[in-house]
Structure formats: C-alpha cells, structure tokens
C-alpha cells in the first residue's frame, strides 16, 4: 500500500514539466505532426522547396522584441488572419517541402494556436516536425507569458527520424537572462519518398560574441556528415548571416529606434545587437564554406542583388522607406543537378506577411 502511494506520488512529481526547458541533450527526438486529412501526394522529380521565417504568424505586428515596437500580445484573430495569408501563399505556390523558422506553438503572444497543425490542416502539407528553440511556462519579460517558439519542417511526404540538434548558447549574457533565453537548434529529418534529408536552422541573430560562428560551423558539420555518408540533402533557414561580399555589413542606422543612438565614440554599445555583421574575425565571410561546397538556391552571382534581399525590420520601412536591405535566408543542396535553372525566387511581394522574405527553388531530381 505504502509503495503504491509512493509510486503515485513519484508519478505526479515527475509528470511536472520544467518551468523552462533547457534541452540538456545535444541530440533529441523532434516532435512529429500530421494533418488531420491527408492530401494524396506522389513523389515528384521536381519538388519545390521554400524557407520562410514566419515571425510567429504576426506579420508586421509592432512586437517589442524587434522592430522597435511596443506591443507584446497579438490578438488571436489577427494571428489567424496572418496564418490564413501564409496558407494562401503555400497553396498557391504548390510547395513540397517547407522549412519554417519562428513558428509559435501554444504561445500566449500568438493566441495559443498550434501553428504547425493549423498550417498542416489548411494546406496540402501532410507531415510536420518541430524543434523548439524557446519553451517556457512563463517569460516575465514585459508580461510575455508562455512561449514555445521553434523551427519546423512541413512536407507533402512522410517524415522519418526527426532530430533536434542543440546549438551552442550565447556567452555574452548573464546566467539569469540565459535561463529565460532562446536555445537554438538545427532540425534534421529524412524524407524517404524523395530519398533525401531536410535540414533547417535558425542561427543566432543578436549574439555579439562568436556564437554565430559556432552555429554556422555546426550547420556545416551536419551537412558534411550527410554528404560524406553519400546521402542527399536540401538545407536552409534563417542563417542571420550575410552572403560573402555583401556590400553593407553595418545596419545600425537603418535599424535604430527613435530613442536609440549608436556609432557614438566612447558610448556602449557602439553597435546595435543583430544589426552589425562584423562582431568577430571572418564574420562577413562566414557563409563562404557553404557556397564553396554546396549549390545555393539563389546562385552566388546573384546573391547580393537587391531582388534577393530578404530582410529589414519594419522600422526601416517606416523611418527610411527601406523594405529589404540584407539577405539572411538561404537554401542549399548537395544534389549534383542542383536546382532547376531559373526556378529560384525571393518572394519580395510577401513583405507584409513577415519580417523575412521567403526563398524558394525547385530541386532537380530528374536523374533519379
């Protein structure tokens, strides 16, 4: 009897989730999802792939955490309307694989919607996997409340062996801030019908140390492991890094809020976090190894063209009329035939739907 009571007690005790999920394992199993009603899908030799940071379905909501905004919790109906706009684009583009960043799952700021399930149930995507980068019962910063934010991969085809690969934490934060802060990751999954892996990353944006180098190095390592083992991949995400040879590496003055001041001698911080891309030696060329080893969605001769810029905070548009001023979002593959010629697109017309522009391209699997 006593043992039974103890067992019940222990079960209840250990059923409690941590207040903040610190993801202690370097590799863990990612969460899997399926659409309620499946849309029949036949494997194609020309699957279309997209990477899209959807900014938790908030579109251009003036969120306090970016864009110089002062708002914290969006209205559920506004989030649904924004998700419906994303759904409409996914359906009109007839995509096969979607790499998503900044997907909210049951977060207070976005109306507690399971965004993966919403997208699966309203598009032709049948399967999804998810790896959280920020999972806490309550973030007391500006009353943000419960948060679960992460990377997701959606696919028409079945997904297997989804892994969450933990990335290094920032080292330029206090222990308390780090406890409540993001734990970024790489999401890796196998798509057997296409005989390839899909890899999705959202690298650090605001670190002022060399954390970004560690994130990109890990990404390169994950891709190299797949490549060396003779497997194929499509990879991408929000790398929060500029293409090699980008003409501008300092966006502090573009991104500056009205009450901020940077580039003032003897005044800290000299640069705005996330707006300066030369925090450590070699940062401007951090993506060179990816371009050297794999085939980019947007060809390297076009990567710095204005029509392929993918990001600028809303403030840049409001204050300076700049809608896009840097490229942060990328697609790569190691498949020999690469991407279909002329298929790559940076969808700048979708500016209102997020603070990142999606990038898509069609894989060439005709030799299969």
């Amino acid at each position: 009897m006593n043992c039974r009571i103890l067992l019940i007690g222990l079960t209840l005790f250990y059923s409690c989730e941590p207040f903040v999920n610190e993801f202690p394992n370097e590799i863990s199993v990612a969460e899997m999802y399926e659409s309620v009603a499946k849309t029949p899908a036949v494997a194609t030799a020309a699957p279309q792939v997209i990477t899209w940071n959807i900014r938790f379905g908030s579109a251009r909501f003036p969120f306090y955490g970016d864009s110089c905004g002062d708002k914290v919790i969006a209205k559920k109906n506004d989030i649904k309307d924004n998700l419906d706009n994303i759904v409409a684009e996914i359906n009109s583009l007839d995509l096969d694989i979607i790499l998503l960043q900044e997907v909210d799952m049951f977060s207070k700021r976005s109306g507690y919607i399971n965004q993966i399930q919403y997208l699966l149930d309203n598009t032709a995507m049948n399967y999804g996997c998810y790896a959280s980068i920020w999972q806490a019962d309550f973030i007391p910063n500006y009353g943000l409340g419960r948060v679960d934010l992460g990377n997701a991969i959606l696919s028409k085809y079945e997904l297997n062996d989804a892994e969450r690969i933990q990335l290094q934490l920032r080292t330029d934060q206090s222990g308390l801030v780090q406890y409540f802060y993001l734990r970024r990751n790489i999401l890796k999954v196998k798509i057997p019908n296409l005989n390839l892996y899909a890899i999705n990353i959202h690298a650090t944006a605001f670190a002022t140390d060399d954390t970004k180098q560690k994130h990109i190095d890990k990404f390169i390592q994950v891709l190299a492991d797949i490549d060396i083992s003779g497997n194929r991949f499509i990879a991408g995400g929000d790398l929060n890094s500029l293409p090699p040879g980008a003409p501008v590496i300092d966006f502090c003055e573009h991104d500056m809020c009205t009450d901020e001041n940077f580039h003032t001698k003897d005044k800290e911080p000299y640069h705005k976090e996330g707006s300066y891309f030369n925090n450590f030696s070699g940062e401007p060329d951090i993506l060179q190894p990816l371009y050297a080893s794999y085939i980019p969605g947007i060809p390297s001769q076009m990567m710095n063209n204005p029509e392929h810029l993918t990001h600028a905070p809303s403030t840049s548009n409001e204050q300076m009329g700049i809608k896009y001023d840097r490229k942060l979002d990328y697609l790569f593959t190691n498949i020999a035939e690469g991407w279909m010629a002329g298929s790559a697109s940076t969808h700048q017309n979708l500016w209102p739907l997020s603070d990142h522009i999606p990038v898509s391209a069609v894989l060439n699997l005709t030799d299969d």
Partner: protein, 271 residues
C-alpha cells in the same frame, strides 16, 4: 523593489497554509485574533461574526471577508463565508512591472490597463468532528463584476493565479472543497485538502488544488506549518500539473513554510 515585495506576499498568500481552521465552519471565539506571515488577519468580532482581511495587501488589493454561523444540521456545524475583493490596483501594479536593466519584469503586458473590478464570493461551509478526524466540506459561487473592458489577453496564465482571476474574465465560477484535519500527537497534526474551481465557458475552465501540511503547535499562541501544494488545471494552451512552491531556476519543488500567531484581545484565554 516594493512591487517585488508585494508579489512575494501575494504568492505566499496564494500558497495559503490557512490553518487554525479558517477553512472550517467554526468561528473564532469573540475577541480572539489570528494571523500568519502570509495569512489573512482574522478576528472574532462576536461569537457570531468573524472578520478577516490581508493587512499587508489591503492598500493595493482591498479585501474583506466575514463568516457567520448558521443552525447545525444533523451533527454538522454550518456557516457561510462572504468575501469582497478589489484586485485592480495590484494588477495594474503588476502590469507596470519593475525595470531590470533594459527590460521590464512584469506578469501582465504593460499594454493592458485593468479596469475597476470587484470579486464577490459566497461559500457554504459544513464541519464535523469524527473519531478519525475533523472534516469540512464547502461549496460556493464566485462573481466577477468588471466596470469597463477587460482584455482577455491580460490574464496571468500561471497555476493558482489564472483560475482565481478567471472569474473576472468569465463573470462567474463555482468552487467546491473538502478538508481533513487530525492530530497525530498532542502537538503535531496533519491537514489535507482538495479544492475544485470551475469556470464554465472559459478556455481554462477548471483547476484542482490539493494541499498537505504538517502542523506543529508550539503553544496555543504559535504554530508552524510545512508542506506542499499540488496543482492540476486547464489553461488556454492545455493542461498542467505542478507541485508548489516551484523554484524555476533550480527546476525543483520546495516545501513551503508558514508561521502563525494567535492572541486573545482581552485575556490570555484561548479556544
């Protein structure tokens, strides 16, 4: 700093050891008072009227509660408990938050202003002494009157807090509970309870709270309690279970402690 102190007191009050039987249908004897570090001040005004309030929170959360006896029913002692609370000032204080570095630590987004609102609770309480233990049953209705617009996004979605404030978002709710108390020795007792709160229509429409305490009576004037609280409830995002108090940074439950004091106003005579 002041805000943090208020929040600590509020949290302590939420864990609520609530002993010396404020949960029971028995009233305090006339002229006797009791209070704890986190407990309300209770005073037996007459043999038929007991009043209680949280003095430390009173100026930011005006509150008043009273209990009156009714006729015994088949061996059960009965009473009714009636409470009024005005949480608007403390919620606006919590919304304003505390500046820490470049951030604002707050439980409610500063975007929201909490309008004037009053909570009214009415409970029926029945107690009986059995050979095994003293038991109490209670049940009642809670009303939340809001003057103005209360944005549903202003809720604090944390255990104990969400469902207590849920009545303002839902306008009404029900509560039911069972308490059991028994002395193990002359000075050591145990107190366990289970409470169910229902908020029909709200997305997080119920919670169950269970508490288990060891109570050590040093004297008739001082007692010490320690134990745990267990919470299980539904929130807008799903269900959650947690032992409380919970230390986030350590990711562990710790027992809570409470000291309670009691005196007679006119003499040292006790119950």
């Amino acid at each position: 700093m002041k805000n943090i102190l208020y929040i600590v007191i509020l949290i302590g009050q939420l864990y609520g050891a609530q002993n010396w039987a404020p949960h029971s249908a028995h009233l305090l004897p006339a002229q006797r008072w009791e209070m704890g570090v986190f407990q309300p001040f209770r005073y037996g005004y007459t043999e038929t009227f007991e009043v209680s309030l949280h003095p430390l929170l009173f100026f930011i959360m005006p509150n008043l509660s009273f209990k009156v006896p009714h006729q015994n029913m088949g061996g059960w002692v009965t009473a009714s408990r009636h409470s009024l609370i005005y949480p608007t000032p403390i919620l606006n204080l919590v919304s304003k938050g505390t500046k820490i570095g470049n951030n604002i630590a707050s439980l409610i987004s500063p975007n929201f202003h909490i309008p004037p609102m009053i909570g009214i609770s009415n409970d029926w309480v029945m107690s009986r002494s059995l050979d095994l233990a003293d038991i109490t049953l209670h049940g009642g209705i809670d009303l939340g009157i809001v003057v103005g617009d209360l944005d549903e996004r202003s809720s604090i979605d944390l255990p104990l807090v969400y469902h207590r404030l849920g009545v303002y978002y839902n306008t009404w709710g029900l509560d039911l509970g069972f308490d059991i108390f028994r002395y193990l020795t002359k000075r050591l007792g145990i107190h366990a309870d289970i409470d169910l709160r229902l908020l029909p229509g709200l997305s997080g429409n119920y919670d169950v709270e269970h508490k288990f305490l060891f109570i050590w009576n040093k004297s008739e004037r001082f007692q010490f309690c320690t134990g745990y609280k267990f919470f299980y409830g539904k929130f807008p995002y799903g269900k959650q279970a947690r032992f409380l108090p919970y230390l986030p940074l350590m990711e562990t439950w710790i027992p809570f402690f409470e000291m309670q004091f009691s005196r007679d106003r006119v003499s040292s005579k006790t119950q």
